[in-house]
Symmetry: C2
Subunit: 335 residues, 2 copies
């Protein structure tokens, strides 16, 4: 029986507690800004606002679902990609259950984050704190560049005129719903984000398995380097970057199993063709150090047409099943 078959028709999820908290963050002081007058609610009074003073910046948000009796050896930390939030894991844009629910049903406690600057983690003012304005990913960039739904030139505002790669697994009828999951991003906050993720791993005070998507990949691979005694495995879905073997000591994580999963149609996409080599170099360094490292190119297993949004594609549960089986083979999924 496959993982997917085992999880079907699960009767109910016995949950102990759902909650959230913020990690990291520090108080800074804003000064020299002009006062403003704000009406906070329709019909409300005018409120004179002095924007100068202390604010908190750099925090990361974590929402947890703890099961009454988790089967898995360690909770699963789900870290989203660039311009996204933890919502990536909660539902697919076409309304199926997401990977959070999949792994809860498989017996994992889940900790879903919004990284610094995104979603419920909040962001800081610019140019006072962040040096620049945020980036808003356009539909074209999402379609052609980041998520590889179609080749260059295939995006069109009219849904009827959009083209996709043959056999694309992403449910393009839900493209607007998928875009709705996105949030603006900055390019200047990697250090803040890594610091906050490292603080999360320390704060949990237990072993963890880290599962990342895209930009989250570099943070997850690095978090393992920073806490190898805590991180039982690192799973990277299409990481857009990775530590550099020339400047990071790969031997630190040689005892930590690593899984990489890649979709289809990246060869002729310049962003992804340029981004993959960093992950390949880290994979090779891991393997040379004797690490248990698995690299899955889904097309080589006969699974074609997957986009960069593996957890949103129509076969998302099938891919989650591959990840679960990989963990089960390493004793991380419980009995």
């Amino acid at each position: 029986m496959t993982s997917n078959e085992r999880l079907k028709n699960f009767p109910a999820l016995p949950v102990e507690e759902i909650g959230s908290f913020h990690v990291g963050g520090r108080m800074i002081r804003l000064e020299g800004l002009p006062a403003r007058d704000r009406v906070s609610t329709p019909g409300g009074p005018v409120h004179h606002v002095d924007p100068n003073g202390e604010i908190v910046v750099g925090q990361l948000y974590v929402q947890y679902v703890r099961l009454l009796a988790p089967k898995a050896a360690a909770p699963l930390l789900l870290w989203h990609g660039g311009g996204m939030t933890g919502a990536s894991w909660e539902n697919t844009p076409d309304g199926r259950t997401g990977w959070q629910m999949f792994f809860l049903r498989a017996g994992f406690d889940t900790y879903v984050s919004d990284a610094v600057e995104r979603g419920r983690a909040s962001f800081a003012p610019f140019p006072q704190v962040y040096p620049e304005a945020p980036y808003f990913r356009t539909a074209r960039e999402a379609w052609e560049d980041t998520f590889r739904f179609g080749p260059p030139g295939s995006w069109h505002p009219d849904p009827a005129l959009r083209r996709t790669y043959p056999g694309l697994q992403f449910p393009v009828d839900a493209f607007e719903a998928f875009l709705s999951q996105g949030v603006p991003r900055w390019s200047c906050n990697d250090g803040l984000t890594q610091t906050a993720y490292d603080a999360l791993v320390r704060r949990l005070d237990c072993d963890v398995v880290i599962l990342t998507h895209s930009q989250g990949g570099h943070f997850g691979l690095t978090a393992a380097l920073h806490a190898p005694e805590r991180v039982r495995a690192v799973i990277s879905l299409e990481p857009s970057g990775a530590p550099d073997p020339a400047s990071s000591d790969v031997a630190i994580v040689k005892g930590t199993p690593h899984l990489f999963v890649w979709g289809d149609n990246w060869r002729h996409n310049s962003f992804w063709a340029n981004s993959r080599p960093a992950a390949e170099r880290w994979r090779d360094a891991l393997a040379e150090a004797g690490c248990d490292v698995t690299w899955i190119d889904l097309p080589e297993r006969g699974m074609r047409g997957n986009s960069h949004a593996l957890m949103a594609d129509r076969n998302s549960d099938e891919i989650a099943g591959l990840v679960l089986d990989w963990m089960a083979a390493r004793g991380l999924a419980g009995s």
Copy 2:
């Protein structure tokens, strides 16, 4: 036995599904912006970004927890206040379980939103879409003005030098954690937000109970006016605004029970002393129309020292219990 006693030592929460979706939103086109060069991840390639093109704006985020066998007659929609997100309901800043968990244990399905412009709902660029820059609430504004932890002049960056109202119920040792829950706000998006909340009520296709905090109050009271056949009750914690009886037909909601709950120490706070009359006028109009309306000033019930952050105060579960008992008396809490 009180509601609080009934909920103690609840063994496990039988959950059917946890997930999320976005509501509302529409595609707009950005034009005339200069191109930028971005490095998306440390060590990654330089990515030439054309910021012009279609983006989605105006969406609202909703996360749901559906029980296997909800006892309550209708799900509870939890709508946060200004400069906040749904995280308000998930945990108290000092680490106790939040109102989401309280009402799940009481047998309600919960739908926790992030309103337009906040948290996982994302925001739109300014000045291209929103006319102005966001407001970042300072620690002083939070302490003295919005949340009424202490009187004017009582905030100080040094925790040892901060003063509070006598007997304050808010756990001030967790003030930085509370600030971490906040997000920037705009003052120009009330129309967008109301539209998205109304769309949420329509989309759920079932009766609902709406529970709001602060700025959410005006949206909740108005949502009932827009869908009286759907909204079984409206509960407003310290609403910062309310519909105007001179321009809204209160008779539309005369069959909808309304509960208002207020904390302490608002008389000498100019923002709240100026904000309460709008809610008082709406309450009086509801009562005159024959509506079942309850107005609780907690100090008049012997509960003193509550701040504006009622769901974060030390007696948050006791206040939730009052709300639950009010619903139970109206047949909304199940058996």
